[in-house]
Amino acid sequence: MSATTEHLAASALSDQARVQTPFRRFLSDYFDSKVATGACIMLAIIIFIALFAPLISPQNPYDLAVVDVMNARLEPGEQSWSGDLTFVLGSDGAGRDMLSAIFYGLRISLGVGVMSGIIAMIIGMAVGLMAAYFGGRTDTVIMRIVDLQLSFPAILIALVLIAILGKGVDKVIIALVTVQWAYYARTVRGSALVERRKEYIEAATCLALSHRRIVFRHLLPNCLPPMIVVGTLQTAHAISLEATLSFLGLGLPQTEPSLGLLIANGFEYMLSGKYWISFFPGIALLLTIVTINLVGDQLRDVLNPRLER
């Protein structure tokens, strides 16, 4: 998502040559750090794998015509019995290629994480803006709810929701959205309260613009930078939480195995020394979370106006 907007913005910028626009300054600030540049490239690779998993995987791990139990629990680097496929990362209990299963799992983990992040961001943003713009009693009620929810750990709220709602992709997304919206609401309210007192909002109010126009065309765009940071870090959090739920057997169904479920499936083979079935999906999960966190950290540093550069 952000990649395409960056491209669009970049092509638009190329017309006005050599002007130090805020966006160009942002880019040069971001790529100042080698770690952050590496993380950005890594993130691009992860997103690429997730998007094109069916095209680049050695096999379709959920096509029963391809998967053969004869190949079950092969060690990394072994060949299938028919000799037409090398299991680079080994195979699992049903004879699936782990590399392919990880690619497909990444797609599902990332998809659920990003999807829930976007929905939570929209809800949180709407609620937070409302609280900041209208103030007074609306603000008090909304922020009380936010505080109440944030005083409970995310995992607990998610577990309870799954226990009441039942399992399934849609339910997991509902649980993740419920857990996350409060962070967005609190962040956007914080920055909106600052922005609201500035002159341009006063000017817009004096022009007798509608509430909707002021909130969405004037207030919202100026509250976006901190939201991007929270959005990145929260997405990493959502992916981790989804993996945890799936590991506990309360997340996604077996038909759509995310990284968490792959790890859970490998857990039973762990005690007999077959480490690769749970080890490699874990590494993939870890890389994804660390990469997103590194990108988010750098974004926070770059977008924070208090840190002088």
Partner: protein, 325 residues
């Protein structure tokens, strides 16, 4: 002070009331309480008796009254699986969870504060950078995966420590505890460390930030100028002053540790209430789930209340602001 405590107590009561309404609504709107609270194996007479006992044949506001009354009496229905009161089951397993949670907190404090202080005193040394990189990793690693890796390395490959269960327990004050026997301690090490990892990272960061700030204060310079050994300056003057934020945050995090014990208990088959919750959700043993929910909500509200009050004692600005508002 007393005004503050009374206000906080009233707020806590309101929260308990609101949460009980939400739980009640959750049971009634999402599912049918007759299905939720009565075992599918029960015969007709049993079903009718339970319906009458729980007041399920009354209008909803009376039902809510019954629900509250039963919750106060400690009757939250019987477990379908164990045929015992749900509340009793959970209370039986609570000591195991609390033991694990406190062991984890202890590890976080004992290792976290010295490591964090070292990183704060020598921010540019290689060791400090390693500590900080480790703490970032500790934040990013999913708890359950770390648990699995701990089992793989220490139980399967090296064979040093057991990977499941609680081991031998002894009775202390009528409660079964593991930490008094050698076997129990061996069983406790891996799960406690697993649960501690996240908080350990947090304590390292808090202690480091605190140390960096305190080390620049005038009273530290004065202590050094007075000729005190740097050992005494660090262990007494710095350590004391970084404790306030560390203790407050840890108090608030205790609830989180108990909640996250669900994951660790599942990985290590630790017989605590978190494992009971997961098993109950899987087996659709709903009275236990409802009882767990009410107990944890109650526990959380109490923890938050105690931390709030303690904090107001440590930092008077908090309660003054609240009374004015």
């Amino acid at each position: 002070m007393s005004v503050f405590i009374i206000r906080r107590l009233l707020q806590a009561l309101v929260v308990i009331f609101v949460m009980s309404l939400i739980v009640f609504a959750g049971i009634n709107i999402v599912g049918d309480p007759v299905d939720l609270l009565i075992s599918p194996d029960a015969d007709q007479a049993e079903i009718e008796a339970t319906i009458r006992r729980l007041g399920l044949d009354r209008p909803w506001y009376e039902q809510y009254g019954y629900f509250l009354l039963n919750a106060f009496k400690g009757d939250l229905g019987n477990s379908f699986i164990f045929a015992e009161p749900a509340l009793k089951l959970i209370l039986q397993r609570m000591p195991a969870t609390l033991e694990l949670a406190f062991a984890a907190m202890l590890i976080a404090i004992v290792f976290g504060i010295p490591l964090g202080m070292y990183a704060g005193l020598k921010p540019d040394s290689k060791v400090s950078r390693t500590i900080m990189a480790g703490s970032i990793l500790g934040f990013s690693l999913p708890t359950f995966w770390v648990g699995i890796m701990l089992i793989m390395v220490f139980a399967v490959m090296l064979g040093w420590l057991p990977s499941t269960g609680r081991g031998d327990t002894t009775e202390m004050l009528g409660i079964q505890v593991s930490f008094l026997t050698w076997d129990g301690i061996q069983h406790l090490v891996l799960p406690a460390f697993n649960l501690a990892l996240f908080k350990l990272s947090l304590v390292i960061r808090l202690a480091r930030a605190g140390t960096k700030e305190v080390a620049l204060q005038d009273y530290i310079k004065f202590a050094r100028a007075k000729g005190l050994s740097s050992r005494r300056v660090v262990l007494v003057h710095v350590a004391k002053n970084i404790m306030i934020p560390v203790v407050t945050v840890l108090g608030l995090e205790l609830g989180g540790v108990i909640a996250f014990a669900v994951v660790t208990e599942t990985v290590f088959a630790w017989p605590g209430m978190g494992k009971l919750l997961i098993d109950s959700i899987q087996l659709l043993d709903r009275p236990v789930v409802v009882a767990y929910l009410l107990i944890t909500v109650f526990m959380f509200i109490i923890i938050n209340l105690v931390v709030d009050i303690l904090y107001s004692i440590l930092d008077p600005r908090v309660r003054l602001k609240d009374v004015k508002a």
